[in-house]
């Protein structure tokens, strides 16, 4: 495409665009619908994570399957408990990733 044709296409595209819309009370309507800003408090999230982690640890502390899985993992044996343990860890990682992505999403 030569520069003059390119410029012509650009000019036609710009001409076709109506440009910024007039306010006509739009901003006022948005401000009327604006909710009170919620102050985000961090402690419930961290508290929940801590309580969940402790509860999980206590629940699994005396489980022979976890113990066996952990030992098999360390020993490099791909037994059923070891694979289950790894799948559970993978699942939790995927959930954490999905949560992170959802939080980062704009809309």
């Amino acid at each position: 495409m030569n520069p003059s044709q390119d410029a012509m296409i650009d000019a036609l595209l710009r001409k076709q665009f109506d440009g910024p819309a007039l306010d006509e009370g739009f901003s006022r309507r948005v401000m009327q619908r604006l909710p009170q800003r919620r102050r985000r408090v961090a402690w419930p999230v961290w508290g929940g994570i801590l309580v969940g982690a402790v509860a999980c640890w206590l629940a699994l502390l005396f489980s022979p399957a976890v113990d066996a899985g952990w030992h098999d993992c360390l020993g490099g044996h791909w037994s059923a408990p070891a694979v289950t343990l790894l799948l559970a860890m993978l699942g939790m990682a995927v959930l954490a990733l999905a949560w992170g992505v959802a939080e980062a999403d704009d809309c």
Binding site: Q5, L13, D18, A21, F26, R29, R33, L34, P35, C107
Partner: protein, 191 residues
């Protein structure tokens, strides 16, 4: 010409006021400064459906208010808003299929050129509608809204290379379809 860097500084200052002291007046200023282009963007994406565009624009600003702390200033505030608006548009079009003008699809490769100058605009409108949705969207952001390729890639959440490809292909198609107009202009210039 408006100084873009100065505008961005004003936006950042207004955002800081909102975040530090819940200053609603500062947010109102941000809405007033950017509502025109956000609504124009959505109107164009919705092929002139003003009511739906305004609903989505309102949703965009409400989301911006809620998620303002996530604005890190890496992009311009306006670009950040366009990204939210585009994301709202995508979500709305997933929920309910929005009216998309597909007139002209499957027609012959070349459009007949009209003789009157105003017809060029009509032919151009028709040619635009024949572009793929991605090409239309990229040309809207890159040419009509005058964003850089990088900014358009951020708004549309597309790789930079894809944006450049759509822009080049879109323009090349328009050029092909409007070839008769170029010819007429060249003949006019020569005579």
């Amino acid at each position: 010409m408006v100084d873009g860097a100065a505008e961005a500084r004003v936006d950042r200052a207004l955002v800081a006021r909102v975040l530090l002291s819940d200053d609603r007046a500062a947010f109102e200023q941000l809405v007033r400064r950017h509502q025109g282009m956000v609504r124009a963007q959505l109107r164009r994406l919705l092929h002139g459906d003003v009511a739906t565009a305004d609903d989505l624009a309102q949703e965009t600003f409400l989301l911006a208010w809620r998620k303002l702390a996530q604005f890190r200033g890496e992009a311009r505030f306006s670009t950040w808003l366009y990204r939210i608006a585009y994301s709202c548009f995508l979500q709305a079009s997933r929920k309910t299929p929005l009216p998309i003008d597909r007139a002209g699809e499957g027609e012959a490769e070349r459009l007949p050129a009209s003789e009157e100058a105003t017809d060029l605009q009509l032919d151009f409108e028709r040619a635009m509608r024949r572009l793929s949705k991605a090409e239309q969207t990229v040309l809207l952001h890159c040419v009509q809204m005058e964003l850089s390729h990088e900014e358009a890639a951020y708004v549309l959440a597309m790789p930079l290379g894809t944006v450049k490809t759509h822009a080049t292909r879109g323009k090349a198609k328009l050029k092909t379809w409007l070839a008769a107009w170029h010819e007429a202009a060249r003949v006019e210039e020569a005579s």
